[in-house]
Amino acid sequence: MTLKLGVPSKGRLMEKTFDWFADRGVALSRTGSDREYAGAVEGIEGIALVLLSAGEVPRELAAGRIHLGVTGTDLIHEKLALWERQLTEIAPMGFGHADLVLAVPRLWVDVDTLDDLDAAAAAFRDRHGYRLRIATKYHRLTREFLQGAGVADYALVDSQGATEGTVKNETAEVIADITSSGETLRANHLKILADGLILQSQATLWQSRVAAYAPEDEAALAQLLDRIAGGAAAS
């Protein structure tokens, strides 16, 4: 058996993850050609690197097919109900910061809070005959947030990308999406509601409580946790 560590397979998230582990004396690398999804772990015996999409890490952890995984808090909370029963958070990694927020057109000078949004939704439904549409790919998080706040008369419409453009394209009136600097929102004539922060997310290392751990896996895990507890090496 080997301890399986799932890491996002491409882009900045992968590079930052490699850097984070390197700072703790664990060298992760891709092997083979640029296009081959294979990797290696050096520094601790008995750990295997699994490269996969960040969006699949929650499912794989919950199924116990990987023991450890790196992905954003947003994806864990969105995809897994009762995630605390299935996973343990080992360490927030200090990068990949992003906020899931509700944003409305800047034109909506009358809407600054959830209270306003709810009132605007009621008037919108009366006027247009359908519910105010909120474009998002974070359906569960958005719905639970709005339900908790007592906002009614809205409909969630699915948007898997370019969500900021849906308002101008008139396929939605409001969006719930991830933002880091807010620049894309501004460029698309949108503003964040004052109390519209649904979740603050960052890249995080998670451990599966569901996966089977052989004695050698436990040993490898203990070594790794030790390195992490020791923090980043002074450089």
Binding site: A81, L82, P105, R106, L107, W108, V109, D110, D112, T113, D115, D116, D118, A119, A120, A122, A123, F124, R127, H128, R131, H139, R140, R143, E144, L146, Q147, A149, G150, V151, A152, D153, Y154, A155, L156, V167, K168, E170, E173, H189, A194
Partner: protein, 361 residues
Amino acid sequence: MPTRAEVLARAAALRERFEREGALTVETPILQPAELLLDLYGEDIRARAYVTSDALRGEQMLRPDFTVPVVQMHMAQGAEPARYTYAGEVFRRQEHDAERANEYVQVGYEVFDRTDVAAADAEVFALFAEALSGLNLRAATGDIGILMAAVAGLDTTGARKAALLRHIWRPRRFRALIDRFAGRTPVPPTRAALLAAADPFADAGADIGVRTREEIEARIATLRADAAAPPLDGAQLAALETLAEVRGPAPQALARIEALAADLPSIRPALERTRARLAALDARGIDTATLDFEASYGRTSMEYYDGFVFGFYAPGRDDLPAVATGGRYDALTRRLGNGAEIPAVGGVLRPGLMLQLEARS
């Protein structure tokens, strides 16, 4: 746990009991068009119902209850008066409590009858009390109509009353609105700035989206009118808040509500209906002297009810959901009736829970 066969046998026996009262047995499809349920309950229903879809019919929901399809069927083709019964599975998505069943059998009894509303309420409640008599359950009752009448009768603007009525089933948002209309929460600074601005649209950016500048101006006008309206009357507010907390044996609870009618005279007709119902329950042999009455009962879970509401619970078993629930839903018949409406009351029993409780006792 009872077996599926035992549950179905009990369900059939209960349905036969309701047939002897003159109810017609009806069936409804398990797959319901999602659009109607979403229109009625909003997006929140997705947290409670399983949604599926195909490319031809679009989104469908696994039947979360029978009431909506039965009302639809009656409004489309039913003769009056009518009594219906049904038995079958309902499906409830569970995201927070793995112990709760996501599929269980319900048996229902629904009465569409405009001759004597109080008698129809009492008929449903008494039949359920009889079906559950061996289980020593606690009955809870209430009447959402009293609270709705209190709100409708407040001396304030129509917009405020409409906002409060819209959120009567969401107590937290209701409370926040009350606090704002009473002047207890300060006006948010952005709201004050908006109303004071010479040109509210100075920083508005581009005109995008379906919601137009004119709609936004209309809402600003509403906000101005609201800012100019006086806060809710102190005596009425105190009476409304006391009303929401009233709870106790029916005679005492009603006496307390009667005392509040001095400040909230609009509740008198609803109070009279409640009295008539208690008399009808008495006539059916229900001990109304000890029957529990809560003015806010059903406010968090029973959104289509707009009058009498009731539930039966196993004492000391807070881990179990209600064994039976029901109520009056006149407004739902209006909503689904395309202009027609009829007073309607009904409820559902859970034979699986009944068997489970019988096995323990």
